[in-house]
Symmetry: D2
Subunit: 406 residues, 4 copies
């Protein structure tokens, strides 16, 4: 609820495009997840909060039943925002008292689903931010979703001095990839398995706005040889000439942020580019995108506690972290596109039932992203985490980290 | 403002389809009309209320400049509803004091545009009702835009007893068609001109729900011989099997109204059908749709003060008026589709400038409708008034009145 | 068959767009009309030529049964052209011997349908020409459907000297409109009825290429005030900047003709414009398009035997006829767009059965055209004939004739 | 030319869908490849055969210049088939005499491009077959592209007895993947590199029609849990209920072949399914699709000389080869879908210039297929060959081979 404290009800029903959901839908859907998969399965004498909410707020779980079409979520103004807040509070209370009514064994089972539900809600906290950004980004008034904080990151050029030309080398050979422990992780992070890796290097910082402007000024968007065939078609069909939120107004460049329109600073980290743009940039820069397992190995040697993760009162925009060693800004700045298709690890099978639809069924025509962005909840990501989006998606905080063979 | 008193801010930004506009847009656009065409032209030292509102709230006036795309009006959550209310109040005040600052001649000119603006706003009052109905009609919760009044019309079957099989005959010959007086009227209602008319009859009441159910039960929607070629294509492409707001739930028929879902009563007047459905019904009933001038002649012999016009506290749904003579329910129930294309009267030329875009430029592929509906503001319609919509439009309160040759 | 003598089999299966049909389809469909409506109804022991041809070659007759989709006629390469020629010959023979096997009364009935079939085939002769023009007009090689004849019309500038600024006046009052005699005419040409007409003038010649270039050079395609709302949307969605077959190559203007690419001569009659372009031009020229009945009255005072009608060895392209009196080039040059929607005359009812689908069911969203073009078969048109196309259609030989009030 | 000897000119201009090209286009494009990349680069005093053919017959080479849109190849009837045959003959002659005019070094370079052009033409021989099948498969007359041969494969049930439930095991560990030799191979087959593989099994024969009918009869197409999210959307949007060329006519199943409609035999190999269908079938059969490198390893242990490769006089339809050991029908029956996205091998960089567009730019949203089909030219495939298509493609001879972990 902290994330929406600056929004009006008008804002919360807005759906910018089929991929993005209204704020109010996120608030209700994450609650529905607890109602459907926890209360309905475990609570004695379960009755739904409202008979229609299951239909309204199911996202994509075929096993659970019919649902309102995803692309038309912006056509529903009821239930109102207040009714959704009530739904959240009452469901939270019902989950809160569940433990005292269950046997130890039932509670252990329920607790696992509750833990999944909490991680699910963390994922939607990030989507809530990117979706309201998409909604406000269309409006010529450039509304602010969050007030601009007065912190150093937002306005101090000194904070950005650390960007440099630094490649970090990693040794190949046989590596173990995937999650092996017993702590919480998503099913698609396993099973752990061996993989043969060649020596490689990853750049220490993601590409900056200034670096990408060089690509743009060099005619990158007009040079077919830099693009994949699908990417070139996408550039033309969508009339793409710049990153999603860049605006040139009377000869001056700005970028739209969750804090409204701000000047485009060359020393900030580039965000909101598609994988096609990332690949074309890499081709232009005579490098390549990293492979999924390369970034997992590299991230395994970085620490995740120094990022600029989601903070409702912070600067919700990518910037350099100023770290000198290893992969600066590896976590908590932008998601790094990889060239790796999102597919099942050897030995992976999706769990049976609705929960099995969580990750497995999306293993087609999507690419893996690694790391985490400035609106990723802290503690949510880890080196084995596999984010995935289609190559043309741009409304997430997606950036470019270069790699090369050694 | 009286029309929106039961709505939430969430409701007021919703756009059900490209043809329908959000409530808040109607509130702002009708105010913009006064700002653009009155204040900007006549007020000394004019400054716009907000530099972006002209772009936001221009509907289709090419001569005035660029505008936000019509089909994306639902993508704007700002300015907020409260900001639009402020815009209305301040603009009203500015127009209110305008007279005292102008010469008599300038004021006479301004007053003519103000009168046009008031009629313009009356048209949008009707659209506001039909557009919020379209928005709520999509929601499985079937919200109410207005509470159901406890009046006789809403629930008393006695009020509907007057429907009967009654044709009213009219004599042909040379008739004068179009507006001739000096009172307010739209440009497209003139010039008055002569037309030769054959003897004809018009039915005393529009088609009822019960009569249309007979057509439906007789397989009307599955019989190509009843339909125009374009209509038959429309039925198939849009998968049409019943009027827009009819719902069959567990074997019982309902219709969606501005008061939520109500039982489908056979003795209520049919509404929300396209011209294609109207023509197919007429073919099935071995009659035809009236021509534009036939209804103008017929309406000229009815009085307009007994209809069920727009009343924010009334029953906003078509029903029989119970009149025994002439054309019962000729005004204030449903708009009657005609078979006549909307074109210029002989001698009509659109005025120069932006005001000339009001009516003239829509004279292509639309049909004229006559009369007025239960959400038409009282006093707004007259026999010469020419409403027009494309033949496939259904979200207005459009009904069927049969005609035949004598 | 004479019309296709210069085509290759490759050409005859080509469908340029959904509205245009392959040459081979026209040859087969006109034959199918005789098989379905003559032989099947009247011939003893009727057997179809091929069990699938009815499905292949029915155009739009719902009463006859299912048919191959119109927009996919170019996806059928079989039956081959030779098989279609065989189909034509054998069907002709079967119709030829039909008379000797029927009673007088049956033959009288059959003869009426045969007469309709012949007129139907004449209509398709025109469509065959315009459809192959559409197909060849897309090809950068600009193939010729007919060799360019060496006649005066094609290359002698003297033939074009007669264009001048001449308006022809007509007196209004009560007029009889529609066909009244017993000779062949289409059902939609009647019944004859009275209409009150105001005095009007029609221009003696259709608009020339040179006149339309003035409109183009004056920014006509970029001036929204000249266009209907639908027309302006059409210009933008279809990126229209000139008549359909005009090409500017290295600064020189050409137009594509059935004889390949030829220089664009200012003194030739303009063709291949939509009704939207015609209306915008008329607005620019401070005139208007004629009404349907105005042209019928004007045509009634012209003779139809001096046009440049369809002649497989002639110059199949609009040019001035050089007549000094009345409406020069009224027949046999271009079809004149009118501003009148195509609707039923008072008292018109479509005949029952499949033949009733011939004209009646298209009375929606189309405009009437009058006169006849250089590829209209001679004797096919008359003053009461009503051609009709949607306002955006351009692949017919459609031109502009101005009218004005007196 | 042998492949088109049974076709009519009408057939050769037909484009069934945007992905499929007309026969005549294949004949001309493969010739253009020699003209553009051999003659233009190496021949003294080069002049193009025709100035427009480069524009007409370039497929997708951006570096070479503009080209006619792929989806509109069926809109060109000129040059005629005979003109294309002439183009082929004359170009062949010009290439034939090229060697005698060049230095040894120039000839060595030219010979490498000629070799590429020959392999390019072999690829188009396969496409020519699948594209004419797509064209004829739409026609209710079900034309034959090739006469049905009287051989054993086409009609002898004994030939199909070898299908059985046989899994073939393969040992994992470090394997070398990719082409290493100096013989001809495509750029995307290298560089050779090491990969760590887990033990796996591949089924000895691809799935048969009968096995897939069990899936269909078990409701496979109606069970969302079996499908990827994209696959389920594809099934619904495209209304998919069976493999591409299956037809149920009066309760009897047939499949459309290059020899026309033939009975659907349970013991024939299934073909013309998408990767989505393949994955759903594998899920239903409690197995999975193989990975690209697994099939390369398995194919490396099969011989390619026993397949049913493209033979213009043979049976051009998948059937069992009757081999008892190893992977029967591994080559020359159907292409096996893999679950592996088509991406660059470590160290792969596309060559500079137009030739570099051959393979590299398609590495997005496509899956690799391995093996080869009954219309693949003999000698064209090898274990390292990487075919690729989007997951929804069905018009190639694509089948299902199951794999599983050990």
């Amino acid at each position: 609820m902290d994330l929406v404290k600056h929004l009006y009800p008008e804002d919360m029903v807005l759906q910018a495009m089929p991929d993005a959901s209204p704020t109010r839908w996120h608030l209700a859907h994450t609650t529905w997840f607890f109602e459907e998969f926890v209360l309905k399965q475990f609570a004695n004498g379960f009755k739904p909060h409202h008979p229609q909410y299951g239909y309204h707020f199911n996202s994509y779980y075929e096993a659970v039943g019919e649902r309102w079409p995803r692309s038309e979520r912006g056509l529903l103004s009821r239930p109102t925002c207040q009714e959704v807040v009530d739904y959240r509070q009452q469901t939270e209370e019902r989950v809160g008292v569940l433990g005292s009514t269950l046997s130890d064994q039932a509670w252990a089972e329920a607790a696992k689903v509750i833990e999944l539900g909490l991680h699910h809600e963390e994922q939607h906290q990030e989507l809530l931010c990117t979706d309201i950004k998409a909604a406000f980004g269309l409006n010529p008034l450039f509304p602010k979703a969050f007030p601009l904080p007065g912190d150093k990151a937002a306005d101090d050029p000194q904070a950005h001095a650390a960007a440099n030309e630094r490649w970090v080398n990693f040794a190949g050979g046989l590596h173990e990839i995937g999650y092996a422990g017993s702590d919480f992780h998503f099913d698609n992070e396993g099973p752990q398995h061996r993989i043969w890796v060649q020596d490689f290097a990853v750049h220490g910082t993601p590409v900056t706005n200034g670096q990408f402007r060089d690509f743009l000024d060099d005619g990158g968007y007009q040079t077919p040889a830099l693009w994949l065939s699908n990417g070139w078609a996408w550039v033309h069909e969508s009339s793409i000439t710049k990153p999603l939120y860049w605006h040139e107004i009377d000869g001056v460049w700005f970028e739209f942020s969750l804090h409204g329109l701000i000047p485009l600073r060359d020393d900030r980290i580039l965000s909101h580019v598609s994988a096609y743009e990332a690949m074309a940039y890499a081709e232009w820069a005579k490098a390549r995108l990293p492979r999924e397992h390369e970034l997992e190995i590299a991230l395994g040697q970085s620490s995740s506690d120094e990022g600029q993760f989601l903070d409702p009162d912070g600067f919700l925009h990518p910037h350099l972290a100023g770290r000198d060693q290893g992969l600066g800004s590896a976590y908590g700045t932008v998601w790094d596109w990889t060239q790796s298709a999102y597919t099942a690890y050897p030995g992976y099978y999706a769990p049976a039932g609705a929960i099995g639809e969580y990750n497995g069924k999306f293993m087609s025509s999507q690419l893996v992203l690694k790391g985490g962005s400035c609106v990723t909840p802290p503690g949510h990501v880890r080196s084995t985490y596999r984010n995935f989006f289609p190559p043309g998606a741009r409304w997430q905080f997606t950036g470019i980290r270069l790699a090369r063979d050694l």
